[in-house]
Symmetry: C2
Subunit: 244 residues, 2 copies
Amino acid sequence: MQNFLLTLRFDGSAFCGWQAQPNGPTVQDTLEHAILRVTGEPVRVTGCSRTDAGVHAREYVCNFRSDTKVPAARLPAALNSYLPGQIAVLGCREAAPEFNARFDCKAKTYRYHIHNAPERDPFLLRRALLERHPLDEALLAREAAAFLGTHDFASLRAAGGSAKTSVRTVSRFDVQREGGEVHFYVRADGFLYHMARIMVGTLLEIARGRLPQGSIPEILAARDRSRAGPTAPAEGLMLWEVEY
Amino acid sequence: MQNFLLTLRFDGSAFCGWQAQPNGPTVQDTLEHAILRVTGEPVRVTGCSRTDAGVHAREYVCNFRSDTKVPAARLPAALNSYLPGQIAVLGCREAAPEFNARFDCKAKTYRYHIHNAPERDPFLLRRALLERHPLDEALLAREAAAFLGTHDFASLRAAGGSAKTSVRTVSRFDVQREGGEVHFYVRADGFLYHMARIMVGTLLEIARGRLPQGSIPEILAARDRSRAGPTAPAEGLMLWEVEY
């Protein structure tokens, strides 16, 4: 039995998130169905992350164990022929027998995409948050720096997650503007439920003047979800990079 | 009565092209319906171009005459509130009474987008042609140069167009690679029915070795559609810029 590591890319707008569930199609369900078609084996795939409905992935890593004789190098094209266009298998290789895409993940980077313009762009539909208020990216970068380092992120965690501790280490929080588009890049050793989206929602409240500048250290110290901003919409979020 | 010039952007994958027709939703129908909702007037909109089903527009210009009291500066937001997310009105201004978006157009630029990679990209679904054969952009640029200038493009014209003459002047044909994506930019004083897509299809046949290098001058001279390559798929084509 081999342990296959798959690298995926998916447009999350067509799915109810990664994890198999009864309310609609998920990336996991769809992928497992394609693996069954190619290998003849019903398998369970382990994903690097539960992603929310509507969240995208530029790079998503998962693994599954199989006795298939299809070589790893041929699996991407074989699986893609059974997958809808919103999911692509970009690569496949054999991993160590004990490799686990969820537990062995050392760091993840998410990108949050904001379209900062007076009117929407059809090519960013379901891929970016439209924010009409002009954003000051230098201000955002200064405020976001308060998230860097090791903190208890209990204020930036939605109810419903399963993590035992809410302490995480954020090692990157970049704010980049390209014309009318603003991108946040956040890297951490792990993300609590909705943490990336609440960080973005909090920064946007500061940018809009609804939360005071310099308030993130106090929000973190409070360990109280009600102190942070709202959860930014899923559509702007994309899993950007996964490190092992 | 005022003559309003609208600038649009649309994702053509949701529409049966620009022009009103009975087989499904078109951009023109959808826009005229939104104008009716905003102004209370049934209007006919004149577009700069018939675009085929699935063809996109980064910049599309159209005009309509109306007695509305809504100022031009407020029309984009008003219309966008009635339009689906696949269409956006980016701007509106009052034009000269005789302005006609179709007949006054001096030049159009189309972009054709090719994803040149072994596997598809979900974020380019219905927005680019997937071409797995590695393309040599220097070769493509050399071959494409044969289209530049004033020629009879009868060999690159599909049956069904209404143009009286098939002579057109191509003033730009650039080939640009950015990583795994190749873009063609074609500017002309006008395009015959399917002309941009047949130019691309012909270049791809040369790149694939199915038509000989250097054959474009002969294809043009033949004035015979059967000599050129196939019509490249609509999904890769985008109206990029319109000049008046």
